[in-house]
């Protein structure tokens, strides 16, 4: 039951947007949910957030950063080609209601999973303040899309090449200090960034949700590999999450667990790159 890739484009260096045929997932999917895919028979299973869904065309949008062998393999699936297995939607959808003012904070590739959530929050009647961060301007993605679903959009870059020169947490702190009443915050991005957001908002007592990217296999609660500690309780990211209260998450343990297979992943990546290099001369 392969799934056909119908569109592929590069959004930023090493960031790919892909449309995949999955009509029943497109229909079922709600903001905050993800899929697990396996590209080929020897492939591993990895989770990816559904960044958008088109019920009419029956497609889902995946946006991913090319970091290791599996995301390289995914990048290399041609339009018209197939992904062997794709299961979803998985995870608990984002709890969306009219909180009042909602701040959506994202960094890097985290904009992809945040976008459908910001959209849903806006639709529910929230004033959506978005803070989109990146290392530099060329790495910003989905700016227009975020603009469309935000009441206010702040951009920040580490090198100052666009928008505010600094970190998303600096922007967030300014807003919170300005006296603007923020009722709900959601942050998605690299782990250190989500931890920093949670630490920033803690003194203000504003509810802050984060979306965790644990290592997963099945995505159905069967393996326990995706476990995280939240308020001293063991939770399975794939079924209890992926969103949790950022003030309660043990980020350090998750950070360590994410590095479990670092060396093996590095080896896989190198071998695949070498494999591509060997193909290159013949192809060109």
């Amino acid at each position: 039951m392969g799934r056909k890739v119908v569109h592929k484009e590069q959004l930023a260096p090493n960031v790919i947007r892909m449309l995949v045929e999955a009509p029943e997932i497109a229909k079922k999917h709600r903001a905050g949910q993800f899929i697990v895919l396996r590209i080929n028979e020897t492939g591993e299973r990895i989770p990816l957030t559904v960044a958008d869904a088109d019920v009419v065309k029956g497609t889902i949008t995946l946006i991913f950063q090319v970091v290791g062998k599996t995301t390289m393999l995914l990048r290399d699936v041609p339009v018209g080609g197939e992904i062997l297995d794709l299961v979803g939607p998985l995870g608990t959808p984002t709890h969306v209601e009219n909180f009042g003012t909602a701040a959506c904070v994202c960094g890097g590739i985290g904009t992809a999973p945040l976008y459908p959530i910001a959209k849903a929050l806006k639709q529910a009647g929230n004033k959506v303040i978005s803070i989109v961060g990146a290392q530099k301007a060329s790495l910003l993605i989905l700016e227009e899309e975020m603009q469309a679903v935000s009441s206010v959009l702040h951009i920040s870059t580490d090198d100052g090449s666009k928008g505010f020169h600094g970190l998303v947490t600096d922007v967030l702190k300014k807003i919170l200090d300005s006296g603007e009443k923020v009722d709900y915050i959601i942050a998605i991005g690299p782990l250190p960034m989500m931890k920093a957001v949670a630490n920033t908002t803690r003194p203000y007592g504003v509810r802050t949700m984060v979306s965790l990217n644990s290592i997963m296999i099945d995505g159905t609660g069967m393996c326990g590999g995706c476990r995280v500690m939240v308020d001293g309780q063991r939770k399975f990211t794939c079924v209890d999450g992926p969103e949790f209260d950022g003030h309660q998450v043990d980020f350090d343990n998750l950070g360590a667990r994410l590095k479990t297979y670092r060396e093996m992943e590095e080896r896989s990546r190198k071998e695949y790159e070498e494999h591509l290099c060997r193909l290159q001369p013949a192809a060109s």
Partner: protein, 490 residues
């Protein structure tokens, strides 16, 4: 065959010793994932079958949860009618090649075998396996006659032994059957849990292919409760739904250090290795920590499978840490013996207290405490009590927690009107599998808690009969609630 003439009353065949299957040498086999026993030769099988006394009131049959006509199939083997024997078994058990390998025969048929009173019992399990393998390898698998189509559709959720059995029974009866399986592979624990060296995946695949050949439709990567709910299945035209989602939610010990890198649930460890083929990394992309000193917590089949997998992944030392004593270990005797031959160390009456890690967050050691046996508990097993001051530290780099599984809550959570036990399992009638919800049946580990393959199959057979009754009792009209609610109490 040395007969002793001084005991003339006993039939001579009793003197034939219980036959052993040839096996891979322990030192060789821990270097590979191939199946350990090779199975009986034809001569061995006939010889072993001839040890059966052909009792009129065969006790062994009482011990078999699915009531296989054991003396009859043993007789056929003795006569060299191997395919006939396989078909005889299949009258009652659709998956004999699997059951012959994984049933706890010493607790069931073989426990009650009369020969076993004085001698070792007849190897019913090995012979069941032999007949089934013979039939499969002969290529003479026959498709049973199918009844004319009834036009009824049944959804089976989960493709473990319970689901496969329900599907197999109902397709024969002319119903249309669709299996929904969350994973990308069909077979449940048989493919993701039980390792290749104990149950070759080709054996499971043959059974799945057999179902497909009969017309069972299988949708993999379909998580009921997420992709589609039970209510939606019923609304979308399924006349009945069978839930066989198993006990897939791993339990942890709740000791400090359990989230360190290198601590796995047995489900994760075995899934990485079996389903994802991490033992073939880097040809396969899924990684697994190939620990040198591996501690496996638990004493069941799952623990044995994990400890033996660890050896095959290259561990120098693989240890079973079990808080009770040897006799209480729930694992099959064969598996404990195999583990021992392979060099797995048994640390019995030992309780893990804490797992310690290094500065990078990887497992470094484990603190354990010795136990002694006290008074029997509710289960009748003597309760282990800690010995004060007996704590000690063992160096380990991988810990596998194999202390049991809870039911997967995905289906219960999204099926609000289904009655549950306090521990999360689905309440279902023992004889029919009927749940509190109309047209919804359940069986296997999701109803009993983690149990056995054959019990899951037995439950599947009963549920299939009840479903058939529901479907054919109603003539071309949607199913009505059949009878009152007969829910078992917790």
């Amino acid at each position: 065959m040395n007969e002793k003439p001084e005991q003339p009353k006993k039939p001579k065949k009793e003197k034939i010793p219980r036959q052993k299957m040839a096996e891979q040498d322990p030192r060789a086999r821990i270097q590979n994932f191939d199946e350990v026993p090779y199975g009986f030769t034809e001569d061995q099988a006939k010889l072993e079958a001839s040890r059966c006394l052909q009792c009129k009131k065969s006790k062994c049959r009482d011990g078999c949860p699915v009531d296989i006509d054991i003396p009859a199939f043993l007789k056929l083997i003795q006569e060299g009618e191997f395919i006939g024997a396989a078909r005889k078994i299949k009258e009652q058990n659709a998956l004999p090649a699997i059951c012959g390998r994984v049933c706890p025969q010493e607790e069931q048929c073989e426990k009650l075998c009369l020969v076993g009173k004085k001698d070792q019992p007849v190897s019913i399990g090995y012979l069941e396996r032999f007949a089934a393998d013979f039939e499969r390898n002969s290529g003479k698998i026959f498709l049973p006659a199918k009844r004319p189509p009834t036009g009824k559709r049944v959804a089976v959720v989960g493709s473990g032994p319970a689901g496969l059995t329900v599907a197999g029974e109902l397709i024969k009866l002319g119903h249309q059957v669709t299996i929904f399986e969350a994973l990308h592979k069909t077979g449940g624990v048989l493919v993701y849990g039980i390792p290749e060296f104990r149950l070759p995946k080709a054996v499971v695949q043959a059974e799945v292919d057999y179902l497909k050949a009969q017309g069972v439709e299988i949708q993999t990567s379909a998580v009921v409760g997420q992709s589609v709910t039970v209510d939606e299945l019923l609304r979308d035209g399924f006349d009945a739904v069978f839930i066989g989602t198993g006990a897939g939610l791993p339990m942890f010990m709740n000791v400090p250090g359990e989230n360190l890198n290198g601590v796995y649930s047995a489900n994760e460890y075995l899934t990485r290795s079996n389903l994802m083929k991490a033992y073939l990394f880097p040809q396969y992309d899924t990684p697994i920590i190939k620990g040198k000193r591996v501690a496996v917590i638990g004493g069941g089949n799952v623990a044995m499978d994990s400890a033996r997998t660890a050896l095959r992944l290259g561990a120098d030392k693989s240890m079973i840490i079990y808080r009770r004593s040897r006799v209480e270990m729930p694992a099959r005797v064969d598996e404990v013996e195999h583990a021992e031959e392979e060099g797995v160390e048994f640390h019995l009456l030992t309780l893990p207290l804490e797992i310690k890690g290094d500065e990078r967050g990887y497992v470094k050691s484990m603190i354990c405490q010795k136990m002694e046996l006290g008074e029997p508990d509710q289960s009748g097993r003597r309760r282990p009590v800690p010995i004060k001051g007996s704590e000690y530290e063992i160096a380990v780099d991988t810990v596998v927690v194999a202390i049991g599984n809870n039911p997967n809550p995905l289906v219960p959570k999204t099926t609000p009107d289904i009655q549950l036990h306090k521990w999360g399992g689905i309440v279902a009638d023992e004889e029919t599998g009927k749940t509190s919800k109309d047209a919804v049946y359940a069986g296997g580990d999701i109803v009993t808690g983690a149990a056995t393959v054959i019990l899951a199959m037995g439950a599947g057979k009963k549920a299939a009969r009840a479903i058939h009754k529901q479907l054919t009792g109603e003539d071309l009209t949607p199913p009505q609630p059949s009878g009152g609610k007969d829910n078992a109490e917790e």
